[in-house]
């Protein structure tokens, strides 16, 4: 018995690993289901009495809010929307994608809770091209929708993202803690689905808790979600 003790110890470790593998492989996706937003326009689930995101964000002194300092040359004939927000489900993968256009500049975010990619690119002639780490997105804008394909590493999924209005859409929050940068990303759909992920530095991260639009506490760090109007300039600025 005691001579075999170390072998049993190893065996228990192997069994634990096998159990964790099975549990992880069968774990459900990290999409959060919350009460769907009523179809009636104007119903704003984020406008809780103590937390009005617009007012709060507006009150936040933030360098990213300097309006339109970049003079993007506009072509009169280009039918691409000057400002549009799209969000939808990625087929097969089950994650969400959000794309926001602001005067020819485009930001995007793809996240299924497990993997994520922040995307940047351009829009012209109703076509969007976005790039991010290990990720390439191309989409056509047609009938109020962005439809296209996302390539992540060696995988490829289709998606269709409809036009959405706040409080649905894309949110990003950044914070600097002692030695590392914290970046949170969230996507919210009008049907109440949401997904998010919070990264600490480049290599550590975890799925975000259910998103309610307000300040998200993450290990005691307050993260204030910003909409694309607020974060796009800082996001697209070259990294210092």
């Amino acid at each position: 018995m005691s001579r075999l003790g170390p072998i049993y110890t190893l065996a228990v470790g192997v069994v634990m690993t096998a159990g964790l593998t099975v549990a992880s492989a069968t774990a459900s996706p990290q999409i959060q289901e919350t009460a769907a937003v009523p179809a009636a326009a104007g119903a704003d689930p984020l406008a809780t009495p103590e937390e009005t995101p617009e007012a709060e964000e507006a009150a936040t002194p933030d360098a990213t809010q300097e309006p339109e300092e970049v003079a993007a040359p506009e072509q009169e004939e280009d039918p691409t929307p000057k400002k549009a927000d799209y969000a939808g489900v990625v087929d097969q993968n089950g994650g969400l994608i959000a794309i926001s256009i602001r005067k020819g500049k485009v930001v995007g975010y793809f996240c299924d809770g497990k993997i994520e990619a922040w995307l940047r690119g351009t829009a012209a002639d109703n076509t969007i091209t976005l790039e991010g780490k290990d990720t390439l997105v191309t989409a056509a804008l047609r009938g109020g929708k962005a439809q296209g394909r996302i390539e992540w590493k060696n995988k490829s999924w289709r998606f269709s993202a409809a036009t959405v209005k706040k409080p649905s859409g894309l949110y990003r929050a950044t914070a600097q803690v002692r030695g590392a940068r914290v970046v949170g990303g969230w996507i919210k759909l009008p049907n109440g689905q949401s997904v998010g992920r919070i990264m600490l530095g480049e290599n550590s991260g975890e799925p975000a808790a259910a998103f309610d639009g307000g300040v998200q506490e993450w290990y005691g760090i307050p993260l204030t979600p910003q909409d694309p109007d607020q974060f796009i300039d800082a996001f697209l600025a070259p990294a210092s």
Partner: protein
């Protein structure tokens, strides 16, 4: 010193270690290859009760590191470096070791399954390498323990290595988390 040795030291004894060392080397290499080739899932099943997987890993690693200190002290007692009566240092050593090992399993699983080995950041690179080597040395030690005729230095060297590796793993993960984010559950 010599009276504590469980077997007389001779040239042939080293041959006893061939299989354990080879097995350990294979385990370390296999973990490294898996960490490199397996596409990170960004998610892995873990223990509940923490606010997130990072906190789970940070605290389980801290538990293992504390138990590693118990390991060193109980090993000193086993080898007569600390005068104690009775056989309980052996019992404490075995069970604190088992607990420490099992505490690391969900952590290593999350690291390898969800994140994978990375080499683009010194902290993460050292952590990846130390982690793979740790399990290699652990397997070597576990497979050596039942063998008779081990060279007398085998267990102290293996144990000392494991302690050093585990503390290195703790410094490159939990300590980094505590000093970056703070002491959070």
């Amino acid at each position: 010193m010599s009276h504590t040795q469980v077997a007389p030291q001779n040239r042939g004894a080293v041959a006893v270690l061939v299989i354990p060392v080879l097995a350990g080397g294979l385990v370390a290499a296999a973990l490294g290859v898996y960490g490199e080739l397996h596409p990170p899932t960004g998610f892995a099943y873990g223990l509940a009760g923490f606010s997130g997987p990072l906190a789970m890993k940070v605290w389980l690693t801290t538990l293992a590191a504390l138990l590693a200190i118990v390991q060193v002290i109980s090993a000193f007692a086993i080898w007569g470096k600390i005068p104690v009566q009775g056989s309980w240092p052996g019992v404490v050593h075995r069970w604190s070791g088992r607990l420490a090992f099992l505490a690391t399993v969900p952590v290593a699983f999350h690291c390898l399954y969800s994140v994978g080995a990375r080499y683009d950041d010194p902290r993460v690179m050292f952590h990846s390498i130390l982690g793979c080597v740790f399990y290699g040395v652990f397997v070597t030690k576990m497979l050596s323990l039942p063998k008779r005729g081990l060279p007398g230095w085998t267990l102290p060297v293996a144990g000392g290595l494991l302690f050093t590796l585990l503390i290195g793993l703790w410094l490159t993960s939990s300590f980094w988390f505590f000093t970056t984010i703070g002491v959070q559950f």
